[in-house]
Symmetry: C2
DNA sequence: ACCTGAACACCGTTCAAGT
DNA sequence: ACCTGAACACCGTTCAAGT
C-alpha cells in the first residue's frame, strides 16, 4: 500500500518526501476509497509511506488537513452558469451542485461552514464567480454576501437531510401523539413511492428524486422566488426616485 | 463533584443508581457548565458518582446519550405561535427560536439532522404543532413535511454560520484574486459596524444583530415569501376548477 | 529541516468478577 | 440486573534522537 516499501533510515531524508500537496492528494484518495472514517493520521501516513509524526512537519493538526481537503473538494462545485445564465438560474444550478458535492463530503460541513476563507484560494475563486454574477445582474453590493450565506445555509442543512435514513420521519410507535404530522409523513411517502429503485435504473437515466431531493427543491425554489421579489421591490423603489 | 463520596461496593447495588433520565439530566448539566467538549463518558460518570462502564447498562453508546439530550433540548424550541398567529408569522418565530437553540447546541446538529424521530417524543410533539398549524392554515398535506424540512435545513446551516468567526469571509492576502467578492464583504462589514458591542449593551436591550443574524433574516424572509407565493398559486389554481 | 520510533494523554467500549 | 475495575483498541499529538 505504501508508496515505497524500502524502509527509510532514521534521520532527515536527502530531499523532503512530503509536501502539503501530497498530503492533500493522499487524503482525498483515502477518503475516495475508504471513506472519511478511515481518514486517520496513521492511515494517511501509511498511504504516504511515512510515520504519522512526520505529517506534523507540514501541517499543524488534522483540522489543517481537513481545510486542505475542503479547498480541493470545492473545485468540484459547478459555478459555470454564472457566466451564461440569468442570476436565478445560475444560483439554482450552483446550489444543486454545491449540495451534491457536500452530500459526498458530509464531515466537511462543520469545517467549511465555520472556516475563514482566507487560506482557501479555490473556495475564494468560487465566491468571486458567484459575487460577479450577482453584481452583474443588478444585485446591490450590500446584499451579495447575505444571499450567498443564505443559499449555503440551505445547502448544508439539505445535505445532512439527504444522508439521513429514508424513514427519518416515521413516528413508529408514537404516531398517536402526532396524528396530523404522521398523516403528512404517510402522504409524502405515498407520493414518492417509498423506495425509489435507483439501483436498478439505467446508468444514464436521472436518478428518481428522493424525499430529501424534493424537499431541497421546494426550499430552493421558494428561496429563489423570494429573492426575485426582493430584487424587484428594490428596483421599483429606486426607479420611483 | 460526585453525588455521593462514599464508595460503592463491588457488586450490584440494592437499588439501581442510574436511569436514562438521570443520565440525560447529568449530561445536560455538564454541557451547561463545561460545554460539549467536556461531555465524555468518564466525566459524565464522575458527575453521576459512578464508573464509566456503568453507563452501558442503560445506554448502548454515547450517541444514544446525544439522542436523549436532543429530545430534551428540542423542548426549548418555541412553537407557541402556531396556536395564535398566521402560519407565516408562526413559521418565522419557530425558525428563529429553533436557530437560537441550536446555536447553543451545535454538536447536536449532525445528530438531530439525521436522527429518526421515532424515539424522540418531545421532538415529535414539536413537529405535530407545526404540522397542525400549517394544515389549519390551508397547506395541503403533501407539502407540510417538505416545508418543515426546508425551514430546518436553513436553520441548521444558519446556526453553523452564526458560530463561525466574525471575519470568516475576509479574503486576507488573497483579496486580489477575488476583487468583486472582497468589495461585497467590505461593504457588508461597513453597514453593520464590524464589531457590534454586545458585551456593553443593557441587559434587556435586544442584542445588535450580527452579520450572521442578518443573513439568516434575509434567507428566512425570502423563503417565507416564496412559500406565500406557492400557496397562493395553489389556491388560485384550485379556485379555477 | 525533516524524518523515525517511542511515548503520552486521552477516547469510547468490553468484560470478568462481584453482589 | 447492575455495579466496579481492569483492559482493549484505538485516537491525535509530542518529542528526543538521528541525519
Amino acid at each position: 500500500m505504501s508508496q515505497d516499501d524500502r524502509a527509510r533510515g532514521r534521520g532527515r531524508p536527502l530531499s523532503p518526501v512530503l509536501t502539503q500537496r501530497k498530503i492533500a492528494s493522499a487524503a482525498v484518495a483515502l477518503i475516495q476509497s475508504r471513506g472519511y472514517r478511515a481518514l486517520t493520521m496513521s492511515a494517511l501516513a501509511e498511504q504516504l509511506g511515512v510515520s504519522a509524526s512526520a505529517l506534523y512537519n507540514h501541517v499543524g493538526s488534522k483540522r489543517d488537513i481537513m481545510i486542505l481537503i475542503q479547498d480541493r473538494v470545492n473545485q468540484d462545485i459547478d459555478c459555470g452558469a454564472f457566466e451564461s445564465e440569468p442570476w436565478d438560474v445560475a444560483l439554482d444550478q450552483w446550489a444543486r451542485s454545491y449540495r451534491d458535492v457536500y452530500i459526498r463530503n458530509i464531515p466537511l460541513i462543520p469545517v467549511m461552514a465555520v472556516l475563514p476563507v482566507a487560506n482557501s484560494p479555490h473556495t475564494l475563486r468560487m465566491y468571486e464567480k458567484v459575487a460577479t454574477g450577482l453584481t452583474r445582474a443588478g444585485w446591490p453590493e450590500s446584499w451579495v454576501v447575505n444571499t450567498i450565506v443564505a443559499v449555503e445555509s440551505l445547502v448544508f442543512g439539505s445535505a445532512y437531510d439527504a444522508v439521513a435514513p429514508e424513514n427519518i420521519f416515521d413516528p413508529g410507535e408514537l404516531s398517536d401523539i402526532a396524528p396530523v404530522f404522521s398523516a403528512a409523513v404517510a402522504h409524502r411517502d405515498l407520493l414518492l413511492g417509498s423506495v425509489p429503485d435507483n439501483a436498478a435504473r439505467a446508468p444514464e437515466a436521472p436518478r428518481t428524486p428522493s424525499p430529501a431531493d424534493v424537499a431541497f427543491d421546494v426550499g430552493l425554489r421558494s428561496l429563489l422566488a423570494g429573492f426575485r421579489l426582493a430584487l424587484q421591490a428594490l428596483h421599483d423603489r429606486t426607479a420611483a426616485d
